[in-house]
């Protein structure tokens, strides 16, 4: 019997403020998991530190609550040690694009099969509302003593530059559409970004629900929109248009899948190529013998001299 979304809800108290966009994201995750009928024992949700990262306690499955900014390397370790697991990263814009920015970039180069769900509220929620890396310059949200003097970065372009093979943007309060994006990201084989615009009613009094609702629209409204690239050639042809869409973030903010590359191999597949049998007997599942399998003289023969 297939699982229901409620099967993914834990009985932990959900610590978010009333109206927080994170609730919408969490619900969308539940539903995506249910539709994919993922076995909670096989699911590993890895979070950093932040309001958003607490999601790990609210989703039935395995959870690792790591340290600030390091969810991606920890998740990568999990996935590479046991590629059969479904590994998902949940975290904030500060966590994943600020302090964790270097790892965010490195994941693209690796193209490990992990979806990264960025709860993008443009502020540092849990530490009381400082500017996040996606807060535009000169905006002064509630907690700031001065307008933001630092500019914002574009997570979609960043992911593209780094080599992510799935790039999407969703909106926290659009449960169904977001659910579909998360589902697609999980199903995609490779590093996937879903940048989720998430109102933080407590601290971000600029990018509010109203602000977003006025701007957002779906790429899929254009019936000709096809984000999938199946070959380098197709990539080349489609990329400019996709990038143009990724850059659109002002009066109009597009949502949906911007880019999906289906031909690039994952790191797991590459390892299988250089280490036959890696996928079937990965590092996390290889049994440990009672004793070393051989004497070093037998194994490291090139170091041995017959005198």
């Amino acid at each position: 019997m297939a699982r229901k979304w409620l099967d993914y809800k834990t009985d932990s108290w959900v610590q978010w403020c009333p109206g927080c966009g994170d609730f919408g994201i969490l619900n969308a995750i539940y539903r995506a998991l249910a539709e994919l009928d993922i076995d909670p024992s096989n699911l590993v949700v890895v979070g950093g530190i932040g309001c958003s990262s607490r999601s790990v306690y609210y989703i039935k499955g395995n959870a690792i609550h790591t340290i600030h900014g390091r969810a991606i390397p920890v998740a990568s370790g999990v996935k590479l040690a046991n590629p059969e697991l479904t590994v998902i990263v949940t975290g904030g814009d500060g966590d994943l694009l600020g302090i964790g920015g270097g790892h965010f970039v490195a994941l693209g180069r690796r193209n490990i099969d992990i979806p990264i769900l960025v709860y993008d509220n443009a502020v540092y929620g849990l530490t009381k509302g400082q500017a996040g890396p996606t807060l535009p310059a000169w905006i002064q949200t509630k907690s700031l003593p001065h307008p933001n003097v630092q500019g914002s970065l574009n997570p979609l372009l960043l992911a593209f530059a780094a080599g992510y093979t799935f790039i999407a943007r969703g909106y926290a309060y659009h449960l169904n559409q977001l659910k579909d994006l998360i589902k697609a990201a999980i199903q995609h084989k490779g590093a996937a970004l879903v940048d989720i615009l998430q109102p933080c009613p407590t601290y971000n009094d600029f990018m509010t629900n109203e602000w977003y609702e006025k701007r957002i629209y779906y790429l899929s409204e254009d019936p000709s929109w096809d984000p999938v690239v199946r070959s380098p050639q197709e990539h080349k042809e489609k990329a400019p248009k996709m990038l143009e869409k990724m850059m659109e973030f002002d009066e109009r903010i597009p949502l949906g899948i911007f880019y999906q590359n289906t031909y690039k191999e994952t790191l797991e597949e590459r390892f299988e190529k250089i280490m036959n049998g890696y996928l079937s007997s990965p590092p996390g599942k290889r049994p440990l013998g009672k004793r070393p399998i051989a004497h070093p003289f037998q194994v490291f023969k090139e170091k041995v001299i017959q005198v």
Binding site: Y57, N62, R70, N82, P283, P296, K303
Partner: protein, 633 residues
Amino acid sequence: MTDVCMIIGGPQGGGIESAGQVALKTVVVKGFNVIGTREYHSNIMGAHSYFHLRFTEKPARALRIPVDLVIALDAESAFTHMWDISTKSYFVYDADSQDQEVSKIPSMESSLKRRVKEALAPKGGATVGSAVKFVEEKGAVPVGLPLKSILKKVSDETASPLSAIAKTVNIIGLAAGLYLAGVEYDYIAKGIELQFGNRPKVLKPNLVAARIAMEYVESSFGKQKALPNGPHRGRSRMLASGNDVVAMGKVLGGLTFQTFYPITPSSDEAFYVEENMYKEDVNGSKISILVLQAEDELAAINLALGAAAAGARASTSTSGPGFSLMNEAISMGVMAEIPVVISLWMRAGPSTGIATRQGQQDLLHAIFSGHGDTPKIVVASGDHREAFFDAIKAMNWAEEFQTPVVHLLDKYLASTVAVLDEWELDVSNVELSRGKREDSPGSEYMRYEITEDGISPMAPLGKVPMLISSLEHDEHGHVTEDPVDREEMVAKRARKWETIARSIPEEEKLVLHGDPEARVTIISFGSTKQIILSAMEELERRGILTNFVQFRVLSPFPAETAKKLLSRSEVLIGVEMNFQDQLSFLLRAHTGIYVPHRVRKVNARPLYDTEVVYAVEKIVREGAKEVVVSGGA
């Protein structure tokens, strides 16, 4: 009795490393024990480097300066090593460099230039010629090799253009030197074959070069008396560096996941694991280790922690700067109780310091790494054999106690090649273990179950839902801020630490070497072990009976046993390669015992047994409090 110490020096990229390898192999084939290390700049090409090697019938424990043979392949080497020569030694140099002036050598450190100029001023100017006079006055026999004409001969004989065989100068110098030391051509040829055997195009000219060089020396200096063969023949022996043996320990000890970010002197360990990461059939088993180069050390350790949580036997490997970056994750490892081995290869700090040189300055940092009451196991290996077995033990301990384990090593061990006999690496009694690993957890499984010994059964991810957390948590791993939960979990971790302290046998934590009755006691840790042991023999010869307490596990610290072992000592001497006397500090903190005498070496060069002898004599006979030794080029 044969006991020869030699140096061969030349520019980085000039074949010093392979000359050293050939020398090692040659003397091993000739039946000797050997130890050899490479000293080099943090540079790819052009800066000075040298291979320092000692061979003997007895165990080859330590290097020393002065040496019996210097082979200076270029002028910089001649200047650099002119102080290192002993009376009755050979000083092989490039006769064509006779007129080269020190001031014209761009790659040389300016203060070394100054010292050379000062020393050679009385000899009529800082040329190689003067340096030769200088060593001659010290009693050394200068042997000028006309490198250009020898190379020409090699070129002629091999019918190759000069440019193609120019690289054989290292072997020319080496062969000439070894010949002077009494090693016959056949052994050198064997050494060369072992080194270049799989590259016939390289092999041939090197054999020719060696022969021509030896012929030249014979014709100019007379036939040398052949050294009798050493006693260690007729069996298989291994030549391996400290980097190599740690990699071997990891591979055979069941490692399945290794990360690294390149850094000297650790990366050669990771590379050697990588070279051996995949082997189809070893005794019917397969070796398959995922080795991943991370984007930085933060990632390296976090990747390993993630993999360990997912069931891998995981390690990473780094040096001081990288280890500093791992602090936060180490603290997570303690809190979340995730096993991981960190091989920490110390080098000269602080900061980037001297990246390719020796130092033992990270002991206290390793122990107190990570904020927030984070005890962890720290084990320091004294030599190659220990390093090999410790690499396995470290993985066992990490998994048995679900904790980060720092395996403390250093640059000297890393690049020192030792000869090892088969029985020394016997693994037939080595057990591999994972402690309370739970492969079939029930649905009631709690990751942080409170147990009497503080250790909870550990299941890998993927079996049954569980929570792993860097936040304070309850038995389930669920975040909690409750004061009672908190205190219980602090107490659990404290009990675990006591379990660790109790479970690791005292005899693995520290070792008393030498006569328990000796009144002079040396304490030290890490790669100074064999050097001190070697010095102790000489000291005994000189009438000073010593013993030596080698600290192997520095955390948990074996306080009671240390007290017992040190209680009878009248002259207590700490030998350390740092300026904070870190081991002495630790000893006093745990036992109250003050170490009144200190031998320090901080010039980023290896410690020599001769220096230990000198310093201990100075302390015992003259009552010196602190002796700083400064050998090495």
